[in-house]
């Protein structure tokens, strides 16, 4: 199927014709009996993997199997922040690859992912936190990405609604600024990759549950699914919280706990916040969507869970953190609250690499930060599946790091809240 290209001209033309000429963005495929590569999980990471397999590695016999619908898992449940303000060189290389791919993504996919690089502040409220911020900003600069230390005065100028009264519990002292950070439309990222992959011949199968991983002589040979047996000798898992259950089908145990991570949106209001803000003191982060809603979240629920709901204590923590930062937001009504199931590893860094039987590759462990990594996760998993070898950026994130003691501890390095 040739892709119907989107442009300003096509918008005008369809506008004049009553929008009757738009075609579905991707084919609803029924699976073939065999593929060169099968990807389990039709979220951003899985769809990006399929796209880069076809685009960069010229593999066209590729299927993406999604048990629900495209982008209906964590890709549609996050808070849309993209950034690369991490500490360790390995992490910055990984997340900045992602940010660079995001910067060209709308053009690459011919799909507006609404990337808005409005900048992000990680705000501090104690001298000790400012020292940690200086350390991270220095590390970012040494690792070649844009990061700088912002003064209290400059932070207050950019965030005029911040609580800076004399009795503010978390009076802002400044923090780390990354100007290239921002937000992107999460659904558009999934849809854009799905559309571009489908146009290159990738089969995207929704409503298709994988029930078993088939192996022979220590190598994968295919998957058993609700749509029958599908043969492939290269299988990629990109299923976030569902990864432990899938890997267990091949006898693989992973260093993962599954937790619910909540997010919230308020009713829409006029523009009042034009940056992304993460407050170290409250753990709450917030941005304003193009529709005017405040999109915010915080840390994990502290109870391992596969329920896509979220618990009340964490809601109270997150919302009270938001109101401590912005007392004016107490007037807003909460519009929606939801949760996604995230795959958390001990060092808060992803796991990318081969696992268990030959031909099985995993891309998981992103925990609370998977959305920003979609282009890189797809790029690196595609490289692995096409060549059988690590890309130099994914090599440090191999599963072997746990046995070798090479943890990349971003919880300690950049203060991830889990």
């Amino acid at each position: 199927m040739t892709m119907q290209r989107y442009s300003g001209l096509s918008l005008v033309r369809e506008g004049l014709r009553g929008h009757r000429g738009w075609r579905p963005a991707w084919r609803k495929a029924t699976p073939a009996a065999a593929y060169d590569a099968v990807i389990v999980g039709g979220g951003g990471h899985g769809l990006a993997t399929a796209y880069y397999l076809a685009r960069q590695h010229n593999m066209r016999r590729v299927a993406v199997l999604e048990k629900g619908w495209i982008g209906g898992g964590n890709t549609g449940r996050n808070t849309t922040v993209v950034r690369s303000n991490y500490f360790y060189p390995e992490s910055v290389a990984l997340y900045d690859l992602s940010l660079r791919l995001f910067e060209g993504l709308s053009r690459e996919l011919n799909f507006n992912v609404m990337l808005s690089q409005r900048g992000m502040l990680i705000a501090a409220h104690t001298p000790m936190q400012m020292e940690i911020c200086a350390r991270i900003a220095n590390a970012m600069q040494l690792n070649g990405v844009d990061g700088s230390l912002l003064s209290a005065k400059e932070a207050r100028r950019r965030l005029p609604l911040l609580n800076n009264t004399a009795d503010a519990r978390f009076a802002c002292m400044g923090g780390i600024w990354q100007g290239r950070a921002g937000v992107a439309r999460h659904d558009a990222v999934a849809w854009g990759y799905a559309r571009a992959a489908s146009a290159l011949g990738v089969d995207i199968v929704e409503g298709c549950t994988v029930t078993d991983l088939l192996t022979e002589g220590g190598a994968v040979t295919g998957v058993e699914t609700s749509h029958g047996t599908i043969r492939a000798d290269r299988i990629g898992l990109a299923a976030a919280g569902a990864t432990p259950g899938l890997a267990a089908l091949a006898g693989v145990r992973l260093p993962i706990h599954a937790y619910a991570l909540q997010a919230f949106v308020s009713e829409p209001v006029k523009p009042i916040l034009d940056t992304v803000l993460l407050y170290l003191g409250t753990g709450t982060y917030v941005s304003q969507s193009d529709k005017g809603e405040l999109v915010f979240g915080g840390g994990l629920d502290r109870v391992p869970s596969y329920g896509q709901r979220g618990n009340l204590p964490m809601q109270e923590t997150v919302i009270s953190g938001l109101l401590e930062m912005f007392p004016a937001f107490a007037q807003l009504k909460l519009l929606r609250q939801w949760a996604g199931v995230v795959d958390v590893v001990p060092d808060s860094s992803p796991v990318i690499g081969p696992a268990g039987p030959e031909g099985l590759y995993i891309n998981c462990g992103w925990g609370t930060g998977g959305f920003k990594a979609i282009p890189a996760g797809g790029w690196l998993l595609a490289h692995l599946m096409a060549t059988g070898a690590h890309h130099e950026i994914s090599r440090p994130f191999d599963l072997s790091r746990f046995a070798e003691g090479r943890l990349i501890d971003e919880a300690a390095g950049s203060g991830i809240a889990h």
Binding site: H257, V303, S305, P313, G405
Partner: protein, 88 residues
């Protein structure tokens, strides 16, 4: 707010508790003979069961570790009991 049962204190609010580990892990011994892979498996690898899970929790207010069986989807608590050798 969910209530969790501490075997020593009874029903208390979930915020008083902290998840420690999956139950049933056996520390490999003797240490000099344990390979890196076995040690890493003991430290890090989990089953992360979807459904009924048997876990070790700590009730932070009394400091006791105990075993809790729960459903990780519905969040229903099935049982809670003291660790072997601890009266509950």
């Amino acid at each position: 707010m969910q209530l969790f049962p501490c075997p020593f204190c009874g029903l208390r609010e979930e915020t008083e508790f902290h998840f420690a580990a999956e139950a049933g892990k056996v520390r490999p011994e003797p240490a000099p003979g344990v390979s890196d892979a076995r040690w890493a498996a003991y430290l890090y690898l989990n089953d992360a069961p979807k459904g009924v899970a048997r876990e070790i929790w700590v009730h932070r207010t009394c400091g006791e570790f105990f075993i809790m069986e729960r459903d990780t989807v519905t969040r229903e608590v099935i049982s809670s009991s003291a660790l072997p050798g601890r009266a509950g």
